[in-house]
C-alpha cells in the first residue's frame, strides 16, 4: 500500500473505524486499475452515458485578440465534470459489493452526479448538504430528489460544504460495512485524492489531444478554478509534465486555502487550510457554493510549494462579471465556479489559453440575478 503523501501533505487522519475500510478501498482500487475491463467499462460509460469526449470551444468574442479555448465539461451529462468521478467511484463501489452511497455536496453538482449514478446502478443514495447551500442551490436539491436520492440538510456550523462533508464522513463511520463514501473532490484521506485525480484526468487527456489537433501546439497556459480542486487536478494532469505549459489555479478570494491558508488537518488529510493559529478551521466565504470550502486537495498544496502551479484568486464581483460576459459574448452560461477561472484567464497576456469550463450555470441564476 502506498502512503498517499504529496510531500508533507495528504495521509490519513481518520478515526480507527475507517482505517480498514480505506485499506479495502485502496486494495479494490489497485485491483480495478490493473483490470482492463474496469478501464473499458469507464470509457464506455463516459462515451455512451456521459457524452464524452466533451468538445473544445474557441471563445473568440469573449477573448478578442487571443485564442482562448473552453474545455466544455458543462456539456457532460448532469452539467458538470463531477460525473467523471461519480461514475468511476460507482463502478468501484459495485466491485466492492457496496450498495449504499453517501456523499456531500456544496453547489449540488456532485450531489446531482452522485444521485444520477446511483439511479443508473440501482444504489441507495444519501446526500448531505448544508441548509445554506440548499437555499442558494434549490434547483439541484429538486434534481437530486427527483433522481431518488435523500437529501439530508446539515443545520449546524457554517451550514455549507465543510459541515456537509463532516456529516457524510460520520454517516460512513456509522454504516461503513454497507456503504461507500463517494467523495466529490480530490480531498479526504488516502486513497481518495489519488482516485479522484485519476478519474478526473480524462479532462486533461482529452483537452491535450484536442488542443494539439486545433492549434498544432500546446497551450501557453491552462486555467482552472479551485475549491477542493478536482476539475483543476483533472485538467492539470494532462499538462503537468509539459514544462512549457503554465498552470494557473484560481480560488475564490475569501476561500483561498492555498493563497492565505496554513498547514492543517481537515476531513482526513493534511493540506493547506483556512485555519487559525490553534488549528481551528475557519469559515470560507464565496458567492459560489462549490468554492466555499476552507480546505483543498493535498496535491494542490504540493504543486503550489513545488512552484509547478501558480494559484491566484478572483472575488465575487469579478466572477459575476465574467459569468455575464461569457453569456452575452459566447451564448454559454458558465457555473459561478469556473467564472472565477474565466475572470483571470481573460486578462492574461498569453496568446494560447485553455480554460476548464467545469460546469454550467443554470443553478446559479437566482444567485446572480438576485444581486
Amino acid at each position: 500500500m502506498s502512503t498517499g503523501l504529496y510531500g508533507p501533505y495528504g495521509g490519513r487522519y481518520v478515526p480507527e473505524t475507517l482505517v480498514p475500510a480505506l485499506d479495502e478501498l485502496e486494495a479494490g482500487w489497485r485491483e480495478a486499475c490493473a483490470d482492463d475491463a474496469f478501464g473499458r467499462e469507464l470509457d464506455e460509460l463516459g462515451r455512451e452515458y456521459g457524452g464524452r469526449p466533451t468538445p473544445l470551444t474557441l471563445a473568440e468574442r469573449f477573448a478578442p485578440g487571443k485564442r482562448l479555448y473552453l474545455k466544455r465539461e458543462d456539456l457532460l451529462h448532469t452539467g458538470a465534470h463531477k460525473l467523471n468521478n461519480a461514475l468511476g467511484q460507482a463502478v468501484l463501489a459495485g466491485r466492492l459489493g457496496k450498495k449504499r452511497i453517501v456523499a456531500e455536496t456544496g453547489a449540488g453538482q456532485h450531489g446531482v452526479a452522485t444521485a444520477t449514478v446511483c439511479a443508473r446502478f440501482g444504489f441507495d443514495c444519501v446526500v448531505y448538504m448544508g441548509s445554506e447551500d440548499m437555499r442558494r442551490q434549490r434547483p439541484n436539491v429538486e434534481r437530486m430528489e427527483l433522481l431518488g436520492a435523500e437529501v439530508r440538510p446539515v443545520e449546524f456550523g457554517t451550514r455549507t460544504l465543510k459541515e456537509a462533508t463532516s456529516e457524510a464522513i460520520r454517516d460512513w463511520i456509522t454504516n461503513v460495512e454497507t456503504t461507500h463514501y463517494l467523495i466529490g473532490s480530490c480531498v479526504g484521506p488516502h486513497p481518495y485524492p489519488e482516485i479522484v485525480r485519476e478519474l478526473q484526468s480524462v479532462i486533461g487527456r482529452e483537452a491535450r489531444e484536442q488542443f494539439l489537433a486545433a492549434e498544432g501546439r500546446l497551450p501557453d497556459v491552462v486555467v482552472a478554478c479551485v475549491g477542493g480542486g478536482s476539475n483543476a487536478i483533472g485538467i492539470f494532469a494532462g499538462f503537468v509534465e509539459d514544462e512549457g505549459v503554465a498552470l494557473i489555479g484560481v480560488e475564490a478570494r475569501d476561500a483561498a486555502s492555498l493563497g492565505t491558508g496554513r498547514p492543517g488537518v481537515l476531513h482526513g488529510a493534511r493540506s493547506s487550510l483556512l485555519a487559525d493559529e490553534d488549528g481551528q478551521v475557519l469559515d470560507a466565504h464565496s458567492i459560489s457554493a462549490g468554492l466555499d470550502y476552507p480546505g483543498v486537495g493535498p496535491e494542490h498544496a504540493f504543486l503550489r510549494d513545488s512552484g509547478r502551479v501558480t494559484y491566484t484568486t478572483a472575488n465575487d464581483e469579478e466572477a459575476v462579471a465574467a459569468f455575464k460576459r461569457l453569456a452575452v459574448s459566447e451564448g454559454i452560461i458558465p457555473a459561478l465556479e469556473p467564472a472565477h477561472a474565466l475572470a483571470r484567464a481573460a486578462e492574461l497576456g498569453a496568446e494560447l489559453v485553455l480554460v476548464c469550463l467545469s460546469g454550467r450555470g443554470d443553478k446559479d441564476l437566482d444567485e446572480v440575478l438576485g444581486r
Partner: protein, 231 residues
C-alpha cells in the same frame, strides 16, 4: 469538555467514583463525535477555549483531583501546536496520557497516547494498537460516532473477546454507554468503561447532578464485578 466549569465538574465526577477523567480539547470539525460532543465543542470554542487555555484548565483541574487526567482531541490542534511541544506541555499541566481521535495507530509513533480500536479493526491491527498504547486500550464499542444509545452495542462483547486474545493491557469500553444497566453490562466484559456524551449532558445540570450520575454508574459497576477497582 474543557471550559470554565471543568475543574469543579471533574471533582464532582471523582467524588461520584470516577477513576479517570477525560478532558475534551475542542476542535471545530470533530469527525468521531456525534451531536452532543460536537455541540459541547462548539460552545467551548465560542467561550474561547483554544489550546493554551485548555492546558490552563487542565492544570487547574489537576490541582483539585488526584486521578489520571487524559486530554482527548484531534490531530489539527497538535499539528498547529507541535506534537512534541503539546506532549511536553500537557504532561507539565498534569496530563497522564493523551487520546487523539483521528490519528491512526501508525502515525506519529513517538507520541505516547492511548490507542483506539473499533469493531472494524482486524486482529493484526489490534495487536499493533496494544503494543503501542499508553497504559490501556480504548475499545470503541460501536461502528459509529460518540453519543448516547439505548442499548450496549452487540459488537462490544466480541471486540473485548478479540482484544483479550491478543493483549494483557487493560481494556476500557466507550462510545454509547449511557445508563447504569449498560455500564454494568459493559463492565462485566471489559476492565472499565468510558462515558462521554451522557456525562456532558448531565454536567449541564451542574456538579451535583454529575456526581449523582457517576455514583449511579459506579454502584452498578461495583455490583456487577467481583473486583470493583480493577483497572
Amino acid at each position: 469538555m474543557a471550559g470554565r466549569g471543568m475543574p469543579e465538574l471533574a471533582r464532582a465526577a471523582v467524588d461520584g467514583g470516577a477513576d479517570l477523567i477525560e478532558i475534551g480539547f475542542p476542535f471545530s470539525d470533530p469527525l468521531a463525535d456525534g451531536p452532543v460532543i460536537r455541540a459541547a465543542a462548539e460552545r467551548a470554542l465560542a467561550e474561547g477555549m483554544r489550546t493554551e487555555r485548555c492546558l490552563d484548565c487542565l492544570a487547574t483541574t489537576r490541582a483539585l483531583i488526584n486521578v489520571p487526567l487524559v486530554p482527548m482531541t484531534y490531530a489539527s490542534l497538535l499539528e498547529a501546536y507541535g506534537y512534541r511541544r503539546f506532549q511536553h506541555d500537557a504532561r507539565l499541566a498534569g496530563a497522564t496520557s493523551l487520546i487523539v481521535a483521528d490519528l491512526p495507530i501508525e502515525a506519529e509513533a513517538e507520541l505516547r497516547r492511548v490507542q483506539l480500536v473499533a469493531p472494524t479493526t482486524p486482529d493484526e491491527r489490534l495487536r499493533l494498537a496494544a503494543e503501542r498504547t499508553d497504559g490501556w486500550l480504548y475499545l470503541v464499542s460501536v461502528t459509529g460516532t460518540t453519543g448516547p444509545r439505548e442499548t450496549l452495542s452487540p459488537q462490544a462483547a466480541e471486540l473485548v473477546e478479540r482484544a483479550r486474545a491478543v493483549t494483557d493491557v487493560p481494556l476500557l469500553l466507550g462510545f454509547g454507554i449511557t445508563t447504569p444497566e449498560q455500564a454494568a453490562e459493559a463492565a462485566a466484559e471489559a476492565d472499565g468503561i468510558v462515558v462521554g456524551s451522557r456525562a456532558v449532558q448531565v454536567a449541564e445540570e451542574g456538579p451535583g447532578a454529575l456526581r449523582d450520575y457517576v455514583a449511579s454508574l459506579r454502584a452498578a459497576i461495583d455490583a456487577a464485578t467481583t473486583s470493583p477497582s480493577s483497572r
